[in-house]
Amino acid sequence: MSPFDVHAIRRRFPILERRFAAGGGPAEAPEGTGLVWLDAAATSQKPEPVLRAMDRFLRTSNANARRSVHRLAGEATDALEGARRRVAGWLGAGEDEIVFVRGTTEAINLVAWSYGRMTLREGDVVLVSEMEHHANIVPWQIIAGERGARVVPVPLADGIAVDLDALERLLAHERVRIVAMTHASNVLGTINDVARITQLARAAGAISVIDGAQAVPHGAVDVRSLGADFYAFSSHKVYGPTGIGALYGRRDLLHSMPPWQGGGDMIRRVSFSGTSFADPPQRFEAGTPDIMGAVGLHAALDFIDSIGQEAIRTHEADITAHALTALAAVPGLRLYGPDRPRSKDRIGVFSFALDGVHPHDAATVLDTLGIAVRAGHHCAQPLMTRLGVPALLRASIAMHTTRDEIDALVAGLDRVRELLG
């Protein structure tokens, strides 16, 4: 492994060459401001090898997978199953425990509509945390509503991490079947103690559904040592394409579950007198899968490993430490989330409010400087309510983020205050 060189890495991301006309006009401007991508938690940018892998697949091997006997069908099937093996390795799971889905949202919906619908009874409880993304709240509300069950929020301690004592109390007093929680918060940046959460859930006879959308981009995880029964993530947040993601499900659970969608590829035998279903994971993959997306995801995980997970972690920890120091010095800025940079406790996601300035106005000013951040409720309205804010600004980093970009953000925030403060 060559030493980590952020500038060499940046050259692998074509979009970082984009220049914008100063002042926010839509036109291209070769001499304009560069792109400062601090919206990585919304979606990652795509490196060259991912783009090339998808292009090559479409140019040379495109076919439907699992359907025909010709050579291209074999290559497409191999590409899909090769990607499944790669994802299984990334999560420390078996290949047959990886279901391809559209993304984290669909993964959680799958668990809700199949496992949730099968198990939830009148009066049962699904526990979610106050920091969940809507993707880990709304599917549970829908299915709980149908089954006469309830979705109960587990509060946060200090507005930062899931309160484990409160979790324990709720597990003791409610008939909890499912504990659905995020590994890392897309707003606070907190990494929750998932191993402890799943242990508490298991001890109370509940299964755990872990939202890994924000954790997986920062390194491989081991679902077994985490003790997760289900674990979900999206390709587009790990330098892969949109349109695909994966659900890990414990083998015995997947086998016990009914399909949630019907169609091609998920059956064993179909007749009008009755249909039998394929084994997992195919049972949950009705219809032609996103083979090109699977190829891109595979290439993305290879790309991360070619740079080195440890090297990326070290770099991101350095940028995180720099960002926390730099943001703390901005007058009137309030950070929501852990203020210590330890990479075991937090990811490089920084949400904050500026006194007297609405996040949208700040984001528009930053945009004219080429700085892309997110402003809004971050699909976590219950968390916004808990924090008592209508909206927040969020800057989130990736492997290609530099200290200079953090400094550009801070300088941009000075401009924001000059103009709007």
Binding site: G23, H358, P359, H360, T368, P390
Partner: protein
């Protein structure tokens, strides 16, 4: 400071957003509507007092960005005293100003309505992502006025 930004966050806009006019409630609430921008969570409530088909008083409450708050403030100032049809026509003109599309019904030989302070929001046109922030209060006003207001405002 870049020109587009200076043009967007003009003094008049900042003045209306820092010191919004017509917050609170009218003497009598005849119509009330609430709307939000699901993209960003901004929320606006409009309260109207009507008499003989005219807006006697227009008030609002907003949890929103500077553009949306200023727009609500300017709008409530401008529509006081107007009939429902006049207010709807004004919304059409306002939307046209922001999107560069033609004013609905512009061929009916009436002069373009005077937008008052709201004309200062023209700079939003350079920021397509923010047009909804400026039009949200007007949509809520349209909802408060009911279907009669629909025609002039367009879809």
């Amino acid at each position: 400071m870049t020109d587009d930004l200076a043009d967007l966050y003009r003094e008049l806009l900042m003045d209306h957003s820092r010191d919004p006019r017509n917050q609170g409630v009218p003497d009598r609430i005849d119509r009330r509507a609430e709307g939000d921008n699901p993209l960003c969570g901004d929320r606006v409530t409009v309260l109207l007092e009507l008499e003989d088909g005219r807006i006697v008083d227009a008030r609002f409450d907003a949890t929103a960005c500077a553009i949306c708050t200023a727009s609500a403030s300017m709008m409530t100032e401008r529509v006081r005293g107007l009939t429902i049809a006049e207010a709807a026509r004004l919304f059409g003109a306002f939307r046209a100003l922001l999107t560069g599309e033609p004013v609905p019904g512009a061929d009916d030989a009436l002069p373009d309505p005077d937008l008052g302070d709201a004309a200062a929001l023209a700079g939003v046109r350079r920021f397509p992502m923010r047009v909804k922030c400026a039009t949200l209060p007007w949509h809520v006003l349209g909802d408060a006025l009911g279907p009669q207001a629909g025609a002039g405002a367009g879809a």
